[in-house]
Symmetry: C2
Subunit: 237 residues, 2 copies
Amino acid sequence: MSNACFAYAHVREAISQQIIEQHLTGSLPSERELCATYDVARSTLRQALGQLEHMGLIYRKNRSGWFVCPRKLKYDPMQHTSFLQYTTAQGFQPSTKLVEQKKLKPCKEIAAALELDARTSLTSILRVRSVDGRAVVVENLNFSNKHLPDIDKHDLSLSISILLKNTYHQHNVLYDVTVESCCLFNPIAQLLDTYDGALGLKVTRIVRDKDGIAFEFDREFWRHDALMIENKAKLHF
Amino acid sequence: MSNACFAYAHVREAISQQIIEQHLTGSLPSERELCATYDVARSTLRQALGQLEHMGLIYRKNRSGWFVCPRKLKYDPMQHTSFLQYTTAQGFQPSTKLVEQKKLKPCKEIAAALELDARTSLTSILRVRSVDGRAVVVENLNFSNKHLPDIDKHDLSLSISILLKNTYHQHNVLYDVTVESCCLFNPIAQLLDTYDGALGLKVTRIVRDKDGIAFEFDREFWRHDALMIENKAKLHF
DNA sequence: CCCACCAATTGGTACATACCAAAAAAGGGC
DNA sequence: GCCCTTTTTTGGTATGTACCAATTGGTGGG
């Protein structure tokens, strides 16, 4: 129905209907096959596929074809729960890989956010987190060594929220969170098994202790099709 | 720097650097001019422009060219403040246009969210909201007539949050909010002065009274480049 | 000076083609 | 049956061309 006045829109609607009505999963036919099916040029087909990708209905894995998207992960960036916890609660199989860990001085953005001077030492890590074997987010976490002494001595591939609770007694932390759409470039795109220029969602987070002192600055680069930000009202009866 | 191993990436970096370093505003040269400047085919150039668009650096207005994006609006969908209030607080000139108002029965999604049966009457409105003359969001608000009697008798082009406070004494409402990236299709794309298939952010909101009874269901379709979701921690000293 | 009309420009759509590198599939040896 | 090599397929990149409709800018008349 509706917007079939252009070829790409017609192809888009046809494929989308196929996927939704027949509950397709797994991979789509090859681009050249689909071109033949819908009798359009490859560039036109790719325009249609690109829009279905932006809808979060399909995605491409590296250079090995198009796949129907699995269901989205629901995620509340304001909530102080661990990745393991909220993924398993939704029936996903989570995993985390620590890609890099180093000490560095804060960039301008971090210095301003954490109110640190440029000489302060930070522990910075890069992690890739997956659900059901699909990489969904690259995390860059930056900890102030002054506020979290010897944090680099711990295994930072595990849950940070549990580490903060158990070792540093940070039970009631506060978050300043922003979410915006972004573009994923290499090398982050490669870590997410996607292409240079893919669509993403960027979550930044400043973590404060109960007195409002900021000690952590995070950047999360999500596959745009992997998550739905959710913030449920908390009722107080 | 970095990813200049492909032509589109080189063009993308070059244009992005130009815009950022020289603080360009307003319109870019025509596509055919840019093709000549960077010596690439038009489709390659458009790929680069498309990625800059996804970065939120440039946007296209209808079919009249490419423009540098104005700064983003910061928006907290959990906050119970009016559009007028938070836009002016950030130095924008807001305006709202009521496009449509009608009574209808709830669709499946709304019936489930508001826990209504299919016969309940809803007042549904469609509004376009702009900042500095640029349409940024299309709102579809749905009110339960049962919970908000005679709401269709009021001027619904004005602030709903003020109407709820003053007329219906809803001072402490609760929100269930979700945010996800989406694709904007006609006719919504046209209302936002953009193209069929443009990138967007979809915010859905269920509004409840202080007892948790849901009485309103909203869908907001934002230009993806117009906003940054922001949720600041509230400190309690 | 303003307005209506016209011509040139421009973005949106669409196609055909080509090449490359990576991935998948097929084949062959153990 | 398993592993390694070769062939084929496939997605990613890139170009050139073409046409249309909407917008824009200029021109001329009132």
